[in-house]
Point group: C2
Chain length 386, copies 2
Amino acid sequence: MTLPPFIRPGVAEIPDSLIRAVANAAIGRADVIPLWFGEPDLPTPRFICDAAAEAMRNGETKYTHSRGIPELRDTLARYMSGLYGVPVDADRITVSASGMNAIMLAMQALVGPGDNVVFTTPLWPNCLRTAMIMGASPRGVTLEHGPGGWRVDLDKLIDAFDDRTRAVFLNSPGNPTGWVMPGEQQQALLEECRKRGIWIIADEVYARLVYDGNVAPSFVPLAEPEDRLIVINSFSKSWRMTGWRMGWFTAPAELGHTLAKLTEFNTAGPATFAQHAGVVAIRDGESEVKAQVDRLRVARDLTFQRLAAHPRLTLSRPAAAFYAFVRVDGMTDSLAFAQDLVAKHGVGVAPGAAFGAAGEGHLRLCFASSPELLTQAFDRLERALR
Amino acid sequence: MTLPPFIRPGVAEIPDSLIRAVANAAIGRADVIPLWFGEPDLPTPRFICDAAAEAMRNGETKYTHSRGIPELRDTLARYMSGLYGVPVDADRITVSASGMNAIMLAMQALVGPGDNVVFTTPLWPNCLRTAMIMGASPRGVTLEHGPGGWRVDLDKLIDAFDDRTRAVFLNSPGNPTGWVMPGEQQQALLEECRKRGIWIIADEVYARLVYDGNVAPSFVPLAEPEDRLIVINSFSKSWRMTGWRMGWFTAPAELGHTLAKLTEFNTAGPATFAQHAGVVAIRDGESEVKAQVDRLRVARDLTFQRLAAHPRLTLSRPAAAFYAFVRVDGMTDSLAFAQDLVAKHGVGVAPGAAFGAAGEGHLRLCFASSPELLTQAFDRLERALR
């Protein structure tokens, strides 16, 4: 008798992360400069850690509300209202156990076998894996790269919709490209999706990592509260809380009940004391967010100047996020190149192929690092390119 | 033009928690004695909180390994090996963002549309919701209640298997019944599942909450490392860490890679500093685990003596977990009864119907509370039963 498959085929087929394929072999090597993951180099600001420690001491170590503690939902609603200049009610806010988990729950709420999800590529691969786990098909539309940087052809994006398109997934500002979708395109897409009943899942976790202005264009101020729109944010990047696993949804109030149910069946949300620290992070963290952007701007400029000057490298100066997505002339196998780069030269980068076929020929470097380390990394990269 | 459904029908159909239907109306009311949720009444032991605070101060606030920090996986492997007297390699351990999330990831790894999952009922409803989210059908087998307490008829359980049965889900010690599956039944079931290639998902989160001996019968010492067996444990109940969202899988090493991938696409695991606190909880927490069981034994005995003496109430003395699952003579609508009980008498309990049709006619009371509060709650319950 043949036994059924060990692992469900739909999951077994999901390819491994090519970022991990480079990093796992060399993680922890002291001589490696790690620019492979999307993470600020500094730890969480001390006042946020202290708030979590105090909440633990106060006994905030038990189960709490499925949608998050009311104080955090209220704080996030005020934050979103202030940031975008439109009223965002706490009824629309649900706390999530990371931006990643919010994407997974959005897919659970919306898509299943037979559905498709349209997205732009290159894209951080984890986003679309969630649709695949739920049995839906991802359908990619390639971003274009020109003198003005990365952009989407909106007609091409909308042409990818069919009657099984349940959602369009947009990550702007985008990982790995730093792409920012202009407000006019967002408005036009919103109107098209409204007509067809297609959900927009907007992963806006890099919203505050912008180098001109205070915040990136967002769907939040454009949409009506009841529009089929899920905006996902995270504490990870701007408040330097990657290891905390905490984010939030802004969605129609009507979806809140479903998000509560799904949260209950998946994680019950972030740690209770972490949610109390989240209140403090949002309330008192503005100067930290701004200081981090100032520090990242220096890193971005250094990165752009060094890399753009190299004859074999092409990149745009990213207007947002903390990645340089660099085209390497003559490189056809980014995985092999990245593996060689870390093994022989001690620089850890993400291979462009990790972000879909459209990313081949590129490397992604996270520049959330000190100028000294970056300079050293670029020196090593130049040696590798010789 | 008709728009597609707002929420995916497979998820919209998942019924609400009847426990929440009772609790949400009265949560936070100071006069209510809350016995509705399955949670120790005391907060997390201080030394565990201190370990987390120290890890935060040490900068353990960033992304970490998808399967958990190596130190925690090693600690858990040693703990499991010592507890069950068989070698359990760290290769078989994956840290999870709660026992609940481990159940969800197990279902993602194994089941999809067309599959079914066999389980015993009454059962905590969230367990099977995960299979439904993945499009699989739950198939319940009713436990039997006799003079010796709750038991499963193993022939009936195996008769429920068909060629679309992908997994059998067992929660022993069980919520809400306190049911414990004997080792001989576990052995026989394991042999049957081995022949058919059916996975056993054993939710053993109450393993240490037993009132005779040190640990409940487990599949761990019976199975070969490569058997299709996923054992799920949690820090929540025994280490009083419900709000931390941390648990672990013991599974074939061959499944580890899939669990790592799924963890990456779902949550990236528990907070990094919480994992460091987990090491300390396991290493230094044995006396706390034992002291909690001693305290719960007193509560269990008080609960049994008071309730079994009442002419309208029937229950067995639970050998494990911290629930009394009480049959109420003449009660046909447990939800209405529980709603009335909290509204008029200020005692919060879970209606038996929340645990499946087989639970109707019962109430579940969590006795992880002080003797004083329990006595007060039982006085109120007696008044309601007059």
